[in-house]
């Protein structure tokens, strides 16, 4: 009843992060321009649109807008509606101590553009620095169902398998992209994940629990989603200014000592 055996150590383990090639955040340049915001909400909507179309990835902090891409176009579009962008422009290398959050936001914008072109819908989540979510909502659900990544649980409800994503940037400019399985219940007519509170109110707790995967299943499903997301063995994220950051598309293998 209480017996257990001791085996030798030195086990190989998979850990759920993708390794970046090189140290891309050591030399991360942007164009910085002064900005006076008139309508914050509208400005962010325009910035999201500019990023989606690949014109520029941009983020605002204090009185400065940091742009990777066509800064003239950003100034032109914002000037018309929601902010005044100053003429002064300087190309600057972002500093890890000072601009870590700017780097992260610019990266996620580029990642979202890339993921959306591969059939994923992206979700920012409540916190800017927190995890992001990718769901394969723009892909053929029958095909996803065959791979165990989509299960209909009602007329207008389905469980989708997607990805949580979190970029970690180290003090030396190295980075890791953490990925885990995201399994929300999606309201199909509205193409949106419902909250756990909504799911509970709809009496879906038990059915949802039956879809919680054990480790091997989770491992396989995340890898299937990575195969859809990646291009071969690489995940290449290209910013609107052409800079690319490349990750290996496999979980890291670590030897436990």
């Amino acid at each position: 009843m209480f017996g257990f055996t001791e085996e030798s150590s030195n086990e190989n383990l998979y850990v759920n992060y993708l390794s970046v090639e090189g140290k891309p955040f050591v030399d991360f340049t942007v164009v910085a321009r002064p900005i006076a915001v008139i309508n914050m909400k509208q400005m962010y909507e325009i910035l999201a649109q500019l990023s989606r179309t690949g014109i520029a990835d941009a983020e605002f902090k204090g009185g400065t807008i940091f742009i990777k891409g066509d800064d003239s176009k950003v100034a032109e579009v914002l000037d018309e509606k929601s902010a005044f962008v100053g003429h002064e422009r300087k190309t600057m290398k972002l500093n890890l101590n000072e601009h870590l959050n700017i780097m992260r936001v610019l990266f996620y914008k580029a990642l979202f553009r890339y993921a959306e072109r591969r059939g994923f819908r992206s979700f920012w989540g409540r916190r800017k620095g927190g995890w992001k979510k990718l769901l394969p909502l723009n892909m053929d659900s029958e095909n996803l169902a065959k791979q165990g990544l989509f299960s209909k649980i009602g007329n207008d409800l389905a469980i989708y398998r997607g990805l949580y994503i979190m970029l970690e940037i180290f003090d030396d400019g190295d980075a890791a992209l953490w990925v885990d399985l995201y399994s929300p219940i999606v309201k199909l007519s509205e193409q949106r994940p419902i909250s756990p509170k909504e799911a509970k109110a709809l009496g879906l707790k038990d059915i949802y629990t039956s879809f919680i995967p054990k480790p091997l299943e989770r491992f396989k499903q995340v890898n299937k989603l990575l195969n859809i997301l990646c291009d071969g063995s690489k995940l290449n994220i290209v910013f609107a200014d052409g800079q690319a950051i490349s990750f290996t598309c496999d979980f890291q293998i670590l030897k436990a000592i």
């Binding site: 009843m1 190989n12 759920n16 995967p213 480790p215 989770r218 670590l254 030897k255 436990a256």
Partner: protein, 394 residues
């Protein structure tokens, strides 16, 4: 060879010290007897059952199984007295109070009053629907009265759904075992202690956790509550107290739940004044650490510390909602072994962070982990004045 950003190692779990020996598994209490065996030997623990009509029979059956022992699917729990040396006293004709969710609070207080003249009593509450306000009330009452056993409300809540879920499975034996251990502990018994100290030398462990809700007292000001718990270096409870904090809504939205500077200083100073200067203090909290808390901790430690008697501290935030996972392909179901720790070789944050798997396969067996889901680790973010911890592994 390019050094890894992250390295993996296993942390040995401390064994548990029982009355007659030590072992890694809490279930060994059946054979080795609880650590405080002699303290409650032959003593009586009175049980009152507060239940709705639907759960009455299940509740009575469960208590009888605790008293007399039970077997299912080759698993067995001996009678309570045989394991713990203390006797459960329960009469199904006089110790059962029928209640409803609406009457529960009043019935709970009345039952508590009826137990006040008895040296050791526990109220077992088995219900179909458990009102969360009553549950919170009972927990706060327990904490407030923890210094005095007779004034402290001792309760054990069990939902009907849980009893039904495990009835007829071997999980029912584990449920009984867990409830039996909880009852023994709530009756002031010590089931086990860690066989070795958590701290390398004499030390204190101060834990701070917050209630989930804050109360708005004006347009700007809010109040919220924190439980302060002090343990000795073996993890044994010294005291718990509830503190009320005030803050502005704006501060709370940017900092999260925090202990204001002056309060943090007084909490820490009070624990050192009461339990003496120790060379090692661990302070951990459930919400992220903020700068004013660090400043307060540093100032108090510096005040009590000197060249001849330095005091070292570790101030930690323990985060449970993390994105990290690990998989062990040598196990049939890829489940990780409990005790795995992942360390970064380079910082990515102002704190030193450890990723620690406190759930997972036990020991080194490669069989499947018979549980739902995938183990998710905790992340411990620390700030410290200990030079050897401040350096990260290469």
């Amino acid at each position: 060879m390019i050094p890894q950003k992250i390295s993996a190692t296993y942390i040995p779990e401390p064994h548990l010290q029982f009355y007659m020996g030590e072992h890694i598994s809490p279930r060994r209490i059946v054979i080795l007897k609880p650590f405080g065996y002699r303290n409650l030997l032959h003593k009586e623990i009175y049980i009152k059952l507060l239940t709705d009509i639907e759960t009455r029979e299940l509740g009575i059956k469960l208590i009888n199984h605790l008293i007399n022992g039970h077997s299912a699917f080759s698993e067995h729990i001996p009678p309570f007295y045989e394991i713990f040396g203390a006797k459960l006293v329960f009469d199904k004709n006089s110790d059962v109070v029928i209640t409803t969710p609406n009457e529960l609070l009043v019935n709970l207080e009345n039952t508590f009053n009826s137990l006040k003249t008895i040296p050791s009593g526990i109220i077992l509450i088995t219900l179909k629907d458990l009102p969360t306000n009553v549950y919170s009330h009972a927990k706060i009452r327990t904490l407030l009265g923890s210094a005095n056993l007779k004034q402290s409300l001792r309760t054990q809540f069990i939902r009907k759904e849980i009893i039904e879920k495990y009835t007829g499975t071997k999980g029912y034996i584990y449920l009984l075992m867990n409830i039996a251990t909880a009852i023994y502990t709530k009756a002031s018994g010590v089931p086990w202690k860690l066989s070795r100290s958590i701290t390398p030398t004499k030390g204190l462990i101060l834990g701070i956790s917050f209630s989930r809700k804050h109360i708005k007292v004006s347009d700007k000001e809010v109040i919220y509550y924190g439980a302060i718990q002090l343990l000795d270096r073996h993890g044994e409870h010294l005291y718990t107290e509830i503190k009320m904090f005030t803050s502005t809504l704006e501060e709370l939205s940017t900092k999260g739940y925090f202990v204001p500077y002056d309060k943090m200083k007084s909490i820490l100073s009070a624990s050192i004044d009461k339990y003496g200067k120790v060379p090692y203090m661990i302070i951990h909290k459930s919400s992220p650490i903020v700068d004013e808390e660090i400043k307060a901790v540093q100032e108090v430690i510096n005040k009590y510390s000197n060249k001849d008697y330095p005091i070292f501290y570790i101030f930690a935030h323990i985060k449970s909602n993390t994105i990290y996972r690990a998989y062990d392909p040598s196990a049939l179901d890829y489940s990780i072994r409990r005790g795995l720790m992942l360390l970064r070789s380079i910082k990515s944050n102002k704190y030193i962070q450890y990723i620690l798997f406190t759930t997972g396969r036990l020991y080194k067996s490669i069989s499947e982990r018979d549980k739902l889901g995938t183990p998710r680790p905790l992340e411990v973010a620390i700030t410290t004045n200990m030079p050897d911890i401040s350096r990260l592994p290469n």
